[in-house]
């Protein structure tokens, strides 16, 4: 069906057809026609104070809703400000559609005011990009863009629309279906390989399941849990896979990796066969590649064929959507599986190891130690609450001491490691799920990077909680300087600046300082009951380290434990 309208109207209509209800953005010269039409549409605009935050909000929205979040920015610096957010979404396979204004077609390449070659700059961080040269192309590109962003291994798509293409009128087609010839998001899992995977797992003496972010992306929670329970196989996750399996489950060992749980790292290195689901074997999860695959048979399930054999040598690979693969795997198991008895030596060992480390991991002695405050948060937070984190020590403490129980409720910038991601992502998450509490577990260094988003949270009535674990320090860098650089502390002291209670209040948010467990309990409750955003400032000991710790370039077995 064709309709006569300008390109910007076609953009809004195409977005509405994709079910878009909100966009996160900031207007400027080159996207004014879009904003003019946005104002006339039914789409809610959520104004940010910096485009990076718009991208992170769209990312948070996308991860929670599993539909692409949409962000708008103008050309030039508006577009380049999105870059960190786009790269973050790409690294963590999050669906996103970014729409930028561009200088008019005739001005492209003339070094015009606020011109940047954003397609060229963003290329390696994008799943795909479009630059329509006529208004007629816009709806098709939007439809293809959404299809690409949300299918297969999700990722960010960029639409860079020159200003005249937004303004010009044309008779514009709106396709109901689109084809993308070179794009094959799904492969059907190979039955023979799946059967071989079943045989291999059943023949293992010390099997373990490693669940990655792919389990969350494809919502394979029930399938994973039924296989783990049927075979009584312990489950570790990657950090991105945290929340793929309930962490209060008896078979759950928590995340492995640089700051994985001691029991998870220990048992991972002892296993003889791993069923790895939806993971790319990042160095942060597995340590050195050669060390990890020693004496270990790897069954790898992933939607992306390029992940097979990229970092680890696999014994059997099953390519396809992991939920579908797990369903088939589960069916094949039904005929053959024998549930191990309670005196199975591996299971006994797993149980003992878990119990030992849960009881004996030495924690910080102070009242406001990281483990204590995060366990308090878990205790008071409803299970279905969504949690995001920033990047640094607080993030790794969250990985260690905050159990994700409800499936798919824990999100973090795990791949790119973008400080400043958690707070705007929490706002995006709250937009997608206004019915549940959303908490950003933050550190002060990260929060500084996007704290301007308090304005968005307050003005757009998105009352998220910032759980600010504050050591007035770039704590993770400080820990590395203490550990690897003989305590030569450089550029890590944030010198008690700013005052986060006053900062929150200056934006019209609630600011609460919690210096004792009682104060913390009250603050969390106040935050949960508040209809404005809350910053809970929790001063902690700046010398507290994150432990266990697998030093970079070493294997999981070389984990450093608290002395």
């Amino acid at each position: 069906m064709n309709e006569t309208m300008i390109g910007a109207t076609a953009l809004m209509k195409a977005l509405e057809k994709e079910g878009v209800k909100e966009v996160f953005g900031l207007p400027g010269g080159a996207n004014l026609p879009m904003y003019d039409e946005l104002g006339k549409s039914n789409i809610r605009h959520i104004l940010v104070r910096h485009e990076q935050s718009a991208a992170h909000m769209a990312d948070g929205f996308g991860r929670v809703s599993r539909k692409p979040g949409v962000c708008f920015a103008t050309s030039g610096p508006g577009a380049t400000n999105l870059l960190t957010g786009i790269a973050t979404a790409q690294a963590d396979s999050a669906p996103m559609v970014a729409v930028t204004g561009q200088v008019p077609v005739a001005m492209i390449g003339k070094d015009a005011f606020q011109e940047s070659d954003i397609i060229g700059m963003a290329n390696p961080a994008l799943k795909y990009s479009y630059q329509p040269r006529t208004p007629e192309e816009i709806p098709t590109m939007v439809k293809q863009g959404f299809y690409i962003a949300e299918t297969g291994r999700p990722g960010p798509v960029l639409l860079d629309i020159p200003k005249d293409v937004q303004q010009n009128e044309a008779n514009i087609p709106f396709p109901d279906e689109v084809r993308v010839p070179g794009y094959h998001p799904w492969t059907d899992p190979d039955m023979q390989n799946t059967a071989r995977a079943v045989e291999l797992l059943l023949s293992a003496q010390k099997p373990i399941i490693l669940a990655g972010g792919g389990v969350i992306i494809s919502s394979a929670f029930a399938e994973l849990q039924s296989i783990a329970e049927l075979l009584m196989i312990p489950v570790v996750t990657t950090f991105k896979g945290k929340g793929a399996f309930p962490e209060n489950h008896p078979l759950s060992l928590g995340p492995i990796g640089m700051h994985g749980h001691a029991e998870a790292n220990k048992l991972m290195t002892e296993a003889d066969c791993v069923l790895a689901i939806g993971t790319r074997f990042s160095d942060r999860s597995v340590g050195t590649f050669e060390e990890f695959e020693k004496n270990l048979k790897i069954i790898h399930m992933d939607v992306d064929p390029a992940e097979i054999g990229k970092n680890q040598t696999t014994s059997v690979a099953v390519v396809g959507d992991v939920r579908t693969s797990l369903r088939i795997f589960g069916k094949l198991l039904m005929d053959k599986a024998v549930r191990p008895s309670d005196d199975n030596p591996w299971l006994k060992h797993v149980k003992e190891t878990k119990q030992y480390w849960r009881e004996n991991l030495k924690l910080h002695p102070g009242e406001m130690g990281a483990a204590k405050i995060l366990r308090k948060l878990r205790e008071l937070l409803p299970k279905e609450s969504i949690v995001t984190t920033e990047v640094g020590q607080h993030q790794m403490w969250a990985s260690l001491f905050f159990d994700a129980i409800h499936p798919g409720t824990f999100f973090s910038s795990t791949g790119l490691g973008t400080m400043g991601w958690g707070f705007p992502a929490a706002i995006g998450a709250k937009t997608a799920r206004p019915d549940v509490p959303v908490v950003d577990i933050a550190g002060d260094g990260s929060f500084n990077m996007t704290e301007h988003s308090l304005a968005t949270a307050v003005l757009e009535d998105l009352p998220v909680i910032v759980f600010l674990i504050n050591n007035y320090s770039l704590g993770m860098v400080a820990q590395w300087q203490r550990t690897f650089y003989d305590r030569r502390m450089v550029g890590v002291d944030l010198k008690k600046c700013p005052d986060y209670v006053k900062l929150a209040e200056s934006y019209g948010a609630q600011g609460i300082r919690a210096q004792s467990m009682d104060e913390l309990e009250k603050a969390i409750k106040d935050g949960l009951n508040s209809d404005v955003a809350t910053v809970i400032d929790i001063p902690i000991d700046p010398e507290e380290d994150v432990l266990p710790f697998v030093a970079p370039g070493t294997g999981l077995k070389d984990m450093i434990l608290p002395s």
Binding site: G120, N123, P124, I148, P181, G182, P305, A306, G309, K310
Partner: protein, 163 residues
């Protein structure tokens, strides 16, 4: 380390060469040679890229290329079952009158053509395998090679069987 010829059919649209070469750069792979042109169907272009790496690297680059949305088909050609050639031009120095004749003789031994024969130089054009080109280059060195330009390999795989 092995030498691989990759034949990549892509949509004939602007910006795709950039994306393909960018992929090699960002994944830390090397392009040994590259040639690009339209196919029998003008909607598509074919890129022929040669690269050197271990088996694991080459498998990985094929998978990464395959994953690209703009690539329609990515094939690693069987080097022993493909016709692959490269076009090269040499501008060879002529120092004394008899050089000219010798260069012509050498060229015809390699089924190469000569162009623009001048007092100071001759341009030799040949289509050959990289191996033959290197051999010619060695022999031409004694005259002095003023300039050389190569197109990079282009290739097609032989049909499987005659029926």
């Amino acid at each position: 380390m092995v030498w691989a010829i990759l034949s990549i059919k892509v949509e004939n649209k602007p910006g795709i060469l950039f994306k393909v070469t960018h992929l090699f750069r960002s994944r830390n792979f090397n392009i040994d040679s590259i040639s690009v042109g339209v196919t029998e169907d003008k909607k598509y272009s074919r890129m022929t890229i040669t690269t050197i790496g271990d088996e694991k690297q080459i498998t990985q680059i094929v998978k990464q290329l395959d994953k690209m949305i703009d690539t329609i088909e990515v094939r690693r050609l069987d080097v022993n079952n493909s016709v692959y050639r490269e076009l090269v031009m040499f501008k060879i120095k002529v120092s004394k009158p008899e050089d000219s004749m010798e260069i012509n003789k050498l060229a015809s031994a390699y089924s190469a053509k000569t162009h623009d024969a001048k007092k100071e130089s001759i341009i030799v054009e040949m289509t050959a395998t990289p191996h033959q080109i290197s051999a010619f280059e060695e022999l031409a060195k004694k005259f002095g090679i003023k300039e050389m330009a190569r197109t990079g390999i282009t290739a097609l795989e032989r049909e499987e069987h005659e029926h």
